[in-house]
């Protein structure tokens, strides 16, 4: 990650007539979300008489978002604005992986294994990680969470893998 200093402008991949790439892309993305919402709510009933159907409000808000997205895109076209920022890949990737692995393993494997494994995965998110201390802290945190959530807070949560408990 040291090679991607987060804030610096990227060499523009945008055509020259886009003067504010950040807004331009942001606006287009919002328009895409709005169009997606139109599609997703297309099966819902619209207005009948003067009363709203289930689909009226979602389509109304989607319409508004479409307009606003278009306006933001226009601003990006006509006014000089910020460049696109670089995205780091390492942090987002490993943090997401840790979250997904937690979600997958919490049910079958229980809190102890799941939390510890996810801790180690998310620690990969930065090159600064020193493994010895990370493992020690991970163990302490796992023990702490195992005591805090199921016992102190009384939440129903399985601690150990299912096949060991049975």
């Amino acid at each position: 990650m040291s090679d991607t200093p987060g804030q610096g402008p990227v060499k523009s991949i945008m055509p020259k007539w886009v003067r504010g790439p950040q807004d331009f892309v942001g606006g287009i993305a919002l328009m895409a979300v709005a169009l997606f919402a139109f599609w997703a709510s297309s099966d819902l009933q619209g207005m009948h008489g003067f009363s709203f159907g289930a689909g009226t409000a979602p389509r109304m808000f989607a319409g508004l978002l479409l307009g606003l997205g278009f306006a933001i895109m226009l601003v990006g076209l006509i006014a000089d604005g910020a460049h696109l920022q670089t995205y780091a890949w390492r942090g987002p990737l490993f943090v997401s992986l840790a979250i997904v692995s937690f979600a997958i393993t919490i049910r079958p494997l229980g809190l102890v294994i799941s939390a510890f494994a996810s801790f180690l995965i998310s620690a990969l998110g930065t090159p600064e990680t020193r493994w010895r201390e990370t493992i020690i802290v991970g163990i302490c945190l796992t023990i702490g969470c195992s005591l805090l959530f199921p016992y102190a807070l009384g939440l129903p949560m399985q601690l150990f893998p299912r096949f060991l408990v049975q």
Binding site: G26, V95, I99, A115
Partner: protein, 505 residues
């Protein structure tokens, strides 16, 4: 007047029972502890700790929640000051001067002033709620669906006008939030909307899930970018003198008073009153200061005013909740959730039917604030030390803690994945200079707005002019339009941008 005292006496009678005092103390402590962890702000803290209160009686649960709320808010300003990570939108401005003070080794005084200011504001606001609560409940009777809708529009416009950056983008974020709030079952027909047959989406996107994603996970991912590294290291160097000096107190006292007044007034408005209040208080302080250039470089007034204002506003924002039943901000929305679980429907009736609950909670706010100042002034040193833990160890811990917290709300792994997805969305939003706070507000108000819009139009038989022909509604709409026009005018825009200049460096 007699009513006022008997009400407050009733409240303190409830709040001062040993068990409720203990719950208040635990709430304030746990709230601070969790709120201090960077990346977990007020909203996430309250959301995470909500399950603890399920087993308690309603009054105790609300008192503990209020304690968690104040604790978390205080904890949130602690991270603003120490690591430049605002836990919530309300403490964004605190970072401007608070973090600068911390860099200069004056984290202690900044934290102490934040606590003292909050306490003072809390005292004033508690009295104000007691005075205004009952008369405003009567006003609420004049509100029909059209007025509710207009009031929410006004609140949302208010929130965008005083939000950071482009107004167009802030409005877009609100609308995106409104759109997200549409996911789930339709209130009237029960039809499943945009849920793609995912059973976990049938109830809508969990508010806590989205909040934890766009504030918690997104912040963590962003902080992992190399750029943020510098600032974090700097604060870990020297922290001396935990107590504010006499001069600090003298400088900040007028700012605290002004912040409290401004906050109390703005907090009554629905739509993120506390956020607006802290921004407004900061702008105001900067405007009347003899030397405005000190702001953004560690001026103690820049911490005192917004912190008092947001606390005053946070408390007076209970007024719309208790009188109109509208949650004016994200945390209040969680409070509504907690009340509903205990079978209480917030609104005008609560004050008449369950006075001990309302007044007990109001009294406990004051006690909670007192406890915070007592607990936290001596503990400031510990919080500071907690934050010296290097980020490479801190962030995986927060990731796991958040993941467990989200999972524990519904025992649903899908929620955890959703929060992760919203984390990536939040990262993208940050990269494109979109503010996540208006999005959250839109999400909270979305269902309420839709319901009232539908009802208003049903009553008027489909006539859209109803919002302009009913006098009260027309006034609210006119105010909203006026604000919007004012905000787009170039002269005000320039001033508005000035406030945020320092935050960019």
């Amino acid at each position: 007047m007699v009513d006022l005292f008997s009400n407050l006496a009733l409240g303190f009678g409830v709040a001062l029972t040993p068990i409720n005092l203990l719950l208040c103390l635990i709430g304030a402590l746990v709230g601070t502890l969790v709120g201090v962890l960077p990346g977990i702000g007020t909203i996430a803290t309250v959301a995470m700790l909500l399950p603890i209160t399920f087993g308690l009686p309603p009054v105790g649960a609300l008192i503990m929640l209020a304690g968690i709320y104040y604790g978390a808010q205080y904890g949130g300003s602690t991270t603003s000051i120490l690591v430049n990570i605002p836990g919530e939108a309300t403490s964004v401005v605190t970072t401007l001067d608070g973090f600068q003070m911390a860099k200069q080794g004056r984290a202690g005084p900044a934290l102490a002033i934040a606590a003292i200011g909050s306490f003072f504001a809390g005292c004033v606001a508690t009295v104000l709620i007691a005075v205004l609560g009952a008369p405003l409940t009567k006003l609420a009777l004049a509100f029909g669906p059209a007025e509710y809708f207009s009031l929410m529009v006004l609140g949302l416009i208010f929130a965008t006008v005083l939000a950071k950056g482009s107004i167009l983008k802030a409005i877009a974020m609100i609308v995106l939030g409104l759109l997200l709030s549409m996911v789930g079952s339709d209130i009237e027909t029960g039809a499943s909307r945009m849920a793609f047959n995912v059973p976990e989406l049938a109830d809508g996107l969990g508010f806590a899930t989205v909040a934890m994603g766009v504030f918690g996970f997104a912040e963590i991912i962003r902080n992992l970018d190399a750029g943020a590294e510098m600032d974090r290291d700097l604060v870990q160097q020297k922290i001396t003198g935990l107590m504010p000096t006499k001069k600090d107190l003298k400088d900040s006292f007028p700012a605290i008073v002004r912040g409290t007044i401004l906050g109390s007034i703005l907090g009554i408005l629905p739509g993120g009153g506390a956020v607006i209040a802290s921004f407004a208080a900061y702008t105001f302080e900067k405007k009347i200061a003899k030397d405005p250039s000190r702001f953004g470089r560690g001026a103690i007034e820049g911490v005192a005013a917004p912190e008092s204002a947001n606390n005053a506003a946070a408390q007076t924002s209970f007024i719309p909740l208790l009188t109109l039943g509208i949650p004016p901000n994200a945390v209040m929305a969680l409070m509504v959730g907690a009340m509903t679980i205990h079978g209480i429907v917030p609104g005008p009736q609560v004050m008449q039917k369950q006075p001990e609950l309302v007044w007990g909670m109001i009294a406990s706010m004051w006690i909670g604030n007192l406890m915070l100042i007592v607990i936290n002034l001596p503990l400031v040193g510990i919080w500071v030390r907690l934050l010296r833990v290097p980020y490479r160890l801190m962030f995986p811990s927060i990731v796991i803690f958040c993941a467990i917290g989200i999972y524990s709300i519904n025992n649903a792994p899908v929620d955890v994945v959703l929060a992760g997805a919203f984390g990536l969305l939040g990262y993208w939003l940050i990269k494109h200079d979109f503010e996540p706070a208006p999005l959250l507000l839109g999400m909270v108000l979305g269902p309420l707005m839709e319901e009232n819009l539908r009802r208003a139009l049903l009553i008027s038989r489909g006539d859209w002019t109803v919002f302009l022909t009913r006098p009260l509604s027309a006034v609210l709409m006119a105010m909203a339009a006026f604000l919007l026009v004012l905000a787009v005018l170039p002269s005000l825009r320039r001033k508005r941008d000035e406030v945020f200049v320092e935050s960019e460096t």
